[in-house]
């Protein structure tokens, strides 16, 4: 048996190994994007410096980074949780929509003390997201319908229903507006501001707590053990007496709840405290990159969310200073995802052998139609 010293050092090495691929992926993505900038005649160093300044250079910048990172973190957690359960929840986008809509509805339709109103509105959003994810989960458990297909379809359905609901004459439509949006939520439903005169709302704290809760759920509870076992080996899960079908539904519902929370926090935390169709479009998809970059570990996802938040926050200044279009940030984010997902490229590039004792969680397994 190894000594605790040796164990600690081997754990340290394992952690380093786990960080290596994401860090190298980020590095490589930045290099590749900088080549594109050089070709178009801008100085990538200047651009990246501006990006960093826009993200961290002032208090306003830092606040903006945190605000942007918050929904990434929650939605990234949603995806990571599903991954751990062997499910690829592409429907975070739709669940986020449904969650926001429910939250906003509770936010503007009743007036309650804040201590009740905020939790109630967020809880409503979580339930909305959970239901919207739970149905594809049920379809998979019951009929084997692949969640990738059904959740994509549920994205469309959510989008259409909500466009109708906030369209002209729709039930959630605010009176007397020209744009399709809901009424703003009452004061009592708005998240408290953490730093006076800034936009930093308490949602950041909720998201960080959520990361700890997800970690704790996954590795410290019976539910988490079941969720992970079904994800890692559904056959062994059945052998162990775990109800695989029930777990598929539960995992999807939990994932959807996080997605719903992600959306709910946006509407309760940021002015104008309403919900529109243009709201946070694409967040559910970008979060896949966040989850994957974060090695589908809650704390990794938190770091990745911070990075993505920083890039989004800094992009404006980069464009201002160097005329590099904001879209470059999207390219970098896309490249990061590509390099992390296709980690063989990174392994080849940097000659990393795949012989670690840590079996990486295979992202492709849920495509195989596991159960």
């Amino acid at each position: 048996m190894a000594t605790s010293e040796a164990r600690r050092s081997s754990r340290r090495r394992a952690l380093l190994g786990r960080l290596a691929i994401p860090l190298l992926a980020i590095f490589t993505a930045l290099i590749v994007a900088s080549l594109a900038m050089v070709l178009s005649g801008t100085d990538p160093i200047k651009a990246y410096l501006a990006l960093a300044e826009g993200a961290f250079g002032s208090q306003v910048a830092r606040v903006e980074t945190l605000i942007k990172a918050t929904p990434f973190l929650l939605a990234g957690l949603a995806i990571a949780l599903a991954f751990r359960g062997g499910l690829f929840n592409i429907g975070v986008e739709g669940q986020l929509f449904v969650g926001s809509a429910v939250t906003v509805f509770i936010g503007y339709s009743v007036e309650l003390p804040a201590a009740i109103h905020i939790p109630l509105a967020l809880l409503g959003g979580m339930i909305g997201g959970a239901v919207w994810a739970g149905i594809p989960g049920y379809l998979k458990a019951r009929n084997g319908a692949h969640e990738v297909i059904t959740t994509i379809m549920f994205n469309f359905i959510a989008l259409r229903i909500i466009s109708w609901a906030i369209g002209v004459g729709g039930p959630l439509r605010a009176p007397r507006t020209v744009v399709p949006e809901t009424p703003a939520v009452f004061e009592s439903a708005r998240l408290p501001i953490l730093i006076p005169d800034s936009r930093l709302h308490a949602g950041v704290i909720i998201a960080v707590i959520a990361a700890f809760v997800v970690y704790w759920l996954l590795w410290r509870t019976v539910t988490g053990f079941e969720l992970r076992t079904v994800g890692a080996n559904p056959n062994a899960a059945r052998y162990a007496g775990i109800n695989v079908e029930f777990n598929i539904v539960r995992t999807m519902a939990l994932s959807g709840a996080l997605a719903g929370l992600s959306g709910g926090i946006q509407v309760l935390g940021l002015a104008p405290y309403t919900f529109t169709t243009g709201f946070n479009v694409g967040l559910g998809f970008d979060s896949i990159a966040v989850a994957v970059l974060g090695s589908i570990h809650p704390f990794g996802v938190a770091l990745a969310a911070l990075l993505f938040g920083a890039m989004d926050a800094g992009a404006r200044l980069m464009q201002l200073r160097t005329k590099v279009p904001i879209d470059v940030v999207t390219i970098v984010q896309g490249l990061i995802l590509a390099f992390v997902a296709a980690d063989q490229i990174i392994r080849r590039l940097y000659r990393i052998r795949t012989e670690t004792e840590e079996g990486p969680v295979s992202l492709s397994q849920s495509w195989g139609g596991g159960s």
């Binding site: 590795w219 992970r228 080996n233 059945r238 052998y239 004792e357």
Partner: protein, 517 residues
Amino acid sequence: MSEPVLRLVGISKRFPGVLANDNVDFELAPGEIHALLGENGAGKTTLMNVVYGLYKQDEGQIFIDGRQVEIHDPNDALARGIGMVHQHFMLVPVMTVTENMMLGHETTRGLRLGLLSDLDPDRVAEEIKALGDKHGLSIDPEAYVRDLSVGEEQRVEIVKALYRGAEVLILDEPTAVLTPQEAEDLFSIMRSLIAEGKSIIFITHKLKEVLVIADRITVLRDGRVVGTTEPSKTTEAELAAMMVGREVILQVEKGPAAPGEAVLEVQDLQVRDLREQMAIRGVSFTVRAGEIFGIAGVQGNGQAELVEALTGLTPVEGGHIFMNGQETTHLRPRAITETGIAHVPEDRHKHGLVLVYPLDENLVLQTYYLPPFAKRTFLQPKEVRENAIRLIQEFDVRTPSVRTHAGSLSGGNQQKVIVARELSRDIRLLIANQPTRGLDVGSIEFIHRRIVEKRDEGVGVLLVSSELDEILGLSDRIAVMYAGEILAVMPAEEATKERLGLLMAGVREAPDSIAAD
């Protein structure tokens, strides 16, 4: 002797906490079958993975045909004429045999060629067929891998290696999963390959096989070479002692059984297999507390379906199952387990383990939700860990720590983890399907002793095995299964290898000789 095709000098390979290979020297002569023996975790697979380019040795050199080489990955190994068939196969089930062959090809050359232009499936299929016919490896290139038996799958792996030009073939425990007939077939294939001038490294735990087929035998223990010998100069007992470092009792010692009440009663059971065919056609038998009831039979005659039906993993089509007096026919696996059942599954990777989980979690796979491992909904990592430390010690699982992932254990040690978990629970019925597959002789001795101990404590044991020696050595009563039926049940004293062999081949006995249950 001529220049060795493969020579390893001073190979060492370290994993976190383990020295898997310690300064190993090894030689393979052309046209030779060289058997590699050793305890579970001795480092056999690791050594071969180094040769095959999956691992990079920390020290030592590899020489092929006298020239020193660096092998970076399996493609490198194949390019140098080294092919390997792993302990656990690596084929894609949803693809055909031909497609699986092309898959390898495409990764070796696909990128450089840009397109898969030189891969004409018809031509590949023809070549496969030709290669197969030459060595008596009949395989259907159009068949889907998922439809193949284990034996066939293995042949595909061998042909795949040959197709890619292997001159040296490494077979890692190829016979562990084969029926005796399939093993015979494999041996004639091996002889045919040798006749062609190819060389084979053959890993096994079955000492009888080694004495029959090998030209030379090298034994590893704790990562070091203990010695190299030849079949004519040694015996089973001597090999066993070399491997384990002590005398091994190859015969099970047990007293007479004291059967009690019925713990498992199966009445006219019918089960369909995955392809909806009847796999079990009306089987009835009883297992009593304190006896070992052995089911012999060639693999694939319904034993797998029987065990899965008993444990709730496969639905029952007809008939009844009673466990400990309670009907369990249509219960879920958890409910069945909770009546006091332990199950050592046939396929350790499919059912038995979660390979990405550390050992401590694998050791509570059925009990994670019960105290002391969980209080209410909270897992108790400390208890889980202490349980693992205890079992690992008791069952001599070779692992650097309890947090090591099951997937990085040697095959035999993985099996020991499962057996440890199942035998350590408070049970009344043990259902063990091939419980010692892949174990070394020392571990088999140990596990057999534990099973007999369980029997003597009053546990009923249903033992399914295709190893006749195991069935004969352990069982108090023996049933033979053929084509989904039980052809005969007999007391162990009345069983002989010949009688069982005939029954296993489907030859029915005259009605009056079938012993009453």
